[in-house]
């Protein structure tokens, strides 16, 4: 709550370029950081040599990425002349005097074939040491992707954690009576439409390799699960059995999915091959079992069940078939998603009339409520386990919000005149 930084204006010059991209969806997500961590790492990002040749540039996006993480603070580079270009040019004393613990410098150079060579170095001003140095040869259309990669390298070197600026997110956008599944960069830029429907779409789930998305569509007057390739747009039915078909979740090896089917009566969890064959029931209860989610090692499944009278989170050991109840506090705990670090899970809990995202640790059973909205739902964890993306409501409209898994950094992503919901964070791009 201590800070309220609007970076929308900062990003505006780049938005114009984004609009020229093919198949770009209209509703661009805008990001606001609404709360920051207690301590931030001061870093100076010096515009690269020749960068002004290209209107989009690179360093602006790198700075926006790092600021958005809530862990960095940008230090002014103005007045240090000549501007350093290589690590050797950085006079650490000058930068330490400005409070910068790290400095990023670099250069850009056009090659004969129209591509651009982008070089950068990250310098630790405390030790006067070069921490990282990379060269990329890219087309101008790849500048945003290159900026995200540079931000990932800086983030990794300075925090010891994997960066997720190069990842993508999927979400459902509702405009009037039209529903669209969008895929965008993690900062909300370049949204592209995957599917458009006049009937509701929900529950997008990324294949572990990032090439396909499973989702539920009501276009056939009932819930049916589809899998669609992002590169070709080709889609196939995963599950269209008698009754309802919903809640797809991929196994970590990408070969199978867990789905909720009602073909045998009641909402029950099945495993099914990714080509739609071999549906096999894995749980039996008299009540509701749904919202399956695989543990990162693939050995267990989290799911929601009302077998104890109220909806609670349970864990199924796939080898022993043992089922263990994990949540006990409150009468409504749903939508569990395992954190990729294997340490716990996020979920939605109801407290009074409010729905909030919380995180629970397997070892300590400790629960921390991370959000404070009225109707927070559909949590999805970043691949480095540091951030939780979720759907919230603001002024009667659906927005996306993100909170760090320690609850300290908060941000909002909203699009004008559009309800956005059902976020799903994509895997690391390797």
């Amino acid at each position: 709550m201590s800070r309220f930084i609007r970076i929308i204006g900062f990003l505006l010059p780049f938005a114009a370029f984004a609009l020229l991209a093919p198949a770009t969806a209209r509703a661009q997500l805008a990001i606001e950081i609404v709360g920051g961590a207690g301590t931030t790492l001061p870093i100076a990002i010096v515009p690269f040599e020749n960068e002004s040749t290209w209107p989009l540039g690179i360093t602006g996006i790198v700075g926006a990425d790092l600021t958005r993480s809530g862990l960095f603070r940008l230090v002014d580079y103005a007045g240090i002349l000549p501007r350093p270009v290589r690590a050797d040019d950085v006079k650490s004393g000058d930068w330490r005097a400005r409070g910068a613990d790290a400095v990023v410098v670099g250069s850009m150079r056009t090659l004969g074939d129209g591509r651009v060579e982008v070089k950068f170095s990250l310098v630790d001003t405390g030790r006067q040491a070069e921490l990282a140095s990379m060269t990329y040869t890219v087309a101008p259309a790849q500048f945003r992707a290159t900026a995200h990669r540079i931000a990932d390298v800086i983030y990794e070197k300075l925090t010891g954690d994997v960066g997720v600026f190069s990842t993508r997110i999927a979400y459902i956008a509702k405009q009037g009576t039209r529903f669209q599944l969008h895929v965008a960069e993690a900062d909300g830029y370049n949204p592209q439409t995957v599917v458009t429907s006049n009937e509701p779409l929900l529950s997008p789930a990324w294949a572990p390799d990032g090439t396909r998305i499973a989702y539920v569509s009501l276009e056939n007057k009932k819930p049916v699960v589809y899998i669609q390739s992002l590169a070709t747009g080709q889609r196939q039915v995963l599950a269209n059995f008698r009754g309802s078909n919903s809640a797809p979740a991929w196994s970590p090896d990408g070969r199978r999915l867990a789905v909720t089917l009602t073909k045998d009566g009641g909402s029950q969890i099945f495993l099914i091959n990714a080509d739609g064959t071999g549906a096999q029931r894995i749980l039996t209860s008299q009540g509701i079992d749904t919202e399956a989610n695989f543990a990162p090692d693939g050995k267990s499944l989290l799911f929601t069940s009302d077998r104890g009278g109220t909806p609670q989170i349970y864990r199924l050991n796939l080898a022993s078939n043992a089922v263990e109840r994990l949540t006990f506090d409150g009468s409504y705990n749903v939508s569990a998603r395992a954190t990729p670090d294997g340490k716990g899970f996020v979920f939605v809990r109801r407290d009074g009339g409010r729905f909030n995202v919380a995180i629970q640790d397997y070892a300590t059973r400790q629960v921390q409520v991370l959000t404070s909205g009225a109707l927070d739902e559909s949590p999805s964890v970043s691949p480095n386990s540091r951030l939780v993306l979720y759907a919230a409501e603001q002024g009667g409209r659906g927005i996306l919000a993100a909170v760090s898994s320690d609850g300290r950094v908060k941000q909002r992503l909203s699009a004008p005149a559009t309800d956005v919901r059902e976020p799903a964070w994509g895997p690391l791009q390797r």
């Binding site: 009937e199 889609r235 009754g243």
Partner: protein, 188 residues
């Protein structure tokens, strides 16, 4: 009956030839869903396979689909199609038993008729869990229909969860209208 089918066929043919001049019962709808490719690979446009052609014809009601006009007659109880539920409840209330009973009898008497019971939930809580709650309500109505003699094969239960609210408000009066099961006949 056969006469009606022929009349419907003729009507469809006429419409097919002169669709610009007549108030057509057959129409070309927008495709229910359009898929697209994403990213630098592949093309930018609809390489993908929609499961339907996007062209749908609408049968003339009460004729070719074999459904009785009584289903649409406002004076007939069969025109009543919605069963409402209390909060967090799956019990079919006594006031809706006559409606469920009438449809069960109709299904028993008309073996070709098929219904889809569409369960719905109010807007509170998880989308997927609400799909399961709506399913439980649709299953409750089906169970009652079966007790009253409707054959299992003629009744499919599905759920829309909170995705298709009847009332858009955010208070109990809207929620009460959204906790429901809709009885729909296949071919309507």
């Amino acid at each position: 009956m056969r006469k009606w089918i022929i009349a419907a066929l003729v009507a469809t043919l006429v419409v097919g030839c002169k669709s610009t001049e007549t108030q057509a019962p057959a129409q070309i709808d927008e495709p229910a869903a359009t898929v697209a490719s994403v990213g630098g690979t592949g093309g930018t446009g609809g390489a993908g396979g929609t499961s339907t052609s996007g062209i749908q014809t609408t049968p003339v009601s009460g004729t070719a689909n074999g459904l009785s006009p009584a289903l649409k007659d406002p004076r007939n109880i069969l025109s009543k199609r919605i069963v409402y539920f209390d909060y967090d409840s799956f019990a079919v209330k006594d006031e809706f038993r006559p409606v469920v009973e009438a449809h069960a009898r109709y299904l028993q008497a008309n073996k070709a008729a098929r219904v889809a019971l569409q369960g719905h939930a109010d807007e509170r809580g998880s989308r997927e869990y609400n799909i399961a709650l709506g399913q439980k309500r649709a299953d409750a109505v089906k169970k009652l229909m079966q007790l009253l003699g409707a054959p299992d094969m003629q009744v499919e239960t599905v759920s829309f969860g909170k995705e298709k609210p009847k009332a858009e408000g955010h208070d109990e009066s809207a929620w009460a209208q959204n906790r429901r099961v809709e009885i729909t006949y296949v071919g309507e």
